[in-house]
Symmetry: C2
Subunit: 413 residues, 2 copies
Amino acid sequence: MKLSMVANHARWPRENDIIFNLSERAQSAEKKFGKDEVINATIGALMDDDGKLITMKTVYDELKSLPNAEISAYASIAGQDDYKEAVKKVCFQGNDPEGYMRVVASPGGSGAIKLAMWNYTNPGDVILTSDWYWSPYGTIGEEAGRSVANYRLFNEQGKFNIESFKEKFKDIIDKQGNIFTIINSPGHNPTGYSVSDSEWDEILDFAKDVAKDESKKIVLFIDVAYIDFVKNDVESRKFFKKFGNLPANILTIVGFSMSKGFTAYGMRMGAAIGISSSEDIIEEFYFSLMHSCRANWSNCNRGAMAILSSLVSDKEKYDEYKNEKDKYKDMLVKRAEAFVEGAKDANLEILPYRDGFFVSIPCENPRQVCEELTKENIYLVPLKMGLRFAVCAVSEEKCSKAPKIIKEVLDRI
Amino acid sequence: MKLSMVANHARWPRENDIIFNLSERAQSAEKKFGKDEVINATIGALMDDDGKLITMKTVYDELKSLPNAEISAYASIAGQDDYKEAVKKVCFQGNDPEGYMRVVASPGGSGAIKLAMWNYTNPGDVILTSDWYWSPYGTIGEEAGRSVANYRLFNEQGKFNIESFKEKFKDIIDKQGNIFTIINSPGHNPTGYSVSDSEWDEILDFAKDVAKDESKKIVLFIDVAYIDFVKNDVESRKFFKKFGNLPANILTIVGFSMSKGFTAYGMRMGAAIGISSSEDIIEEFYFSLMHSCRANWSNCNRGAMAILSSLVSDKEKYDEYKNEKDKYKDMLVKRAEAFVEGAKDANLEILPYRDGFFVSIPCENPRQVCEELTKENIYLVPLKMGLRFAVCAVSEEKCSKAPKIIKEVLDRI
């Protein structure tokens, strides 16, 4: 038998990231045919119309004006206190749910998901998320012996499929006694769907009903990575209020990330915000997650924390940042509208888009379709049930014309 | 029964970091009595004689001159290619072991330990390290259901206790079939011991002997977090050569960190370097660790990687950095010498110090002694078997006079 040194649980297929590969191929094509001829819709970051990464001036000016010691020193294990306060301010913007809250810093939104999933599930547990989902949820789970089950995200009307959600939720909690469910909203990756306020009510009414059995434990993980690029900043945050005053056996964890809202992807800064009506449950949350911080990465990027704390504590700077961000948000909204409009004109079926960086196109054999699209110099990301088009990374003009080409390729396959 | 929401494996005592608490108390004392009157030897970072954090100008000038996009963009999951090359260059400085090597980026040295331990041990496994050890090894282990066993670090002559090492090593590998052992050298935290070249030969001869049984799997994790502050930069790296051409069932993983050598603690940047005589084993290493990256923190601090790549690729800049670092190294060496000399004069027993940030003092009831020392305005870190004095953080003058006071307190308890 061939020698293997790793533990049994650590053997994975030896493959590189498919998004990264496609993105490299798109860049080669740009060199060969010119940037105007290529549509690279693989990248999950805001790019300008020339395909250059957008970096917010207010954010990077702040970083570069920090005293060196503010970047160099170790941060506290669970994050600097002023950062933890700034996270709540930026995330809730006044819509703080009633109850007890604690914040634990994490490397990006990914780190927050890791912290939450590790501490609130057991090996062998099944995590619940929708059938269209960001694949790292699965990777984070499988690494530690958890798996993912799915409900159908959409019903026939293209709305949140509460029936499917309830059915799967009941299945799992009846078997396990506990459930950990991830809802990525607003601006869901990969579909761009946002759960509406009334849909949140339905979800929470159902959860409260299940929670009447006090032996049941429910953890709602709300991944809000894309919240800063939702059309209406104020309206988009009202749903946070709904997580106040829930029964103690429902714990809400909000996954916050600086990656998108502050164009800080590479700085790896985020947080998990625990919300509970029980002080004891929220203390438990804090100390369990802090232990995981110490045991995984020790502490987080101090300079990135200082940027947020500093921006938030200075009204003038914060306003300047918001103006800058809104400018890019408007750009994103226009691109998305152009794509949705283009899809309508070309009769291309897309999933219900509301907000965020991505639009999804349902199709058979996504990998084959992606390959075929590269012949037309269009680069998308293949998912299990379709294709992901990154409107965040493609100019309005290209967003407008892409649907027709995609439709043609789909028709000829 | 009281409601608890976390999984069984995630319940830990609700306590804050003791080092952090002591450091806070030292700072209060400084405010009350003046900086000259207080010796704060708790901090594991280089401080100047006024107690201010030292940040290397060459490092932070580089960070602040990076294009924003070099900080903002997501890095590759396993790290940027130029960073991976730079890590090998900086770490080995020409003493590359023969064989196959791959590098996986991690958040600091802690992240590298996490990556290695997770992938090369099973739940329930026992990890081997010395009886004086950096406590997060235990935290990283216990988080995932691994525990730590110890050999005695020192023999009667104050040298590496190879007999105790062999005995414990055999115990574990006979039971488990595999072993994961961490050796933190040179400049061991907390004792300042450095394994000598001939001691490495003894360790490796023994490991090779055990590895003749091909069913046995041996992983040597070498934590070199303090290597850049060893007296002789060139001599200190010769031992790396010894990890070449080992049998395929011995895998060496070097834990690299930018924290100390580049005063980049808060940037969280390090790497795990795998070394094997088998290409297949090293590919397995790469893909297993990369999966863990994706599943824990996704990717690492891109700006920190760019600093290293940039410094290393420009001879002039790199020389300037080395000159700056060597200045601080000389300062550290003088402080350590002053402490060792002071201990000798005061008849204070200390452990054999060679290099690095810390000196250790064996004693009974370390917590009680630490409390008693605070009455003399000396702040140290209590360990299981003694006290840790951070020469990295204390002026030469204070290093010189501290041993006498410590001795007096020990005598009166």
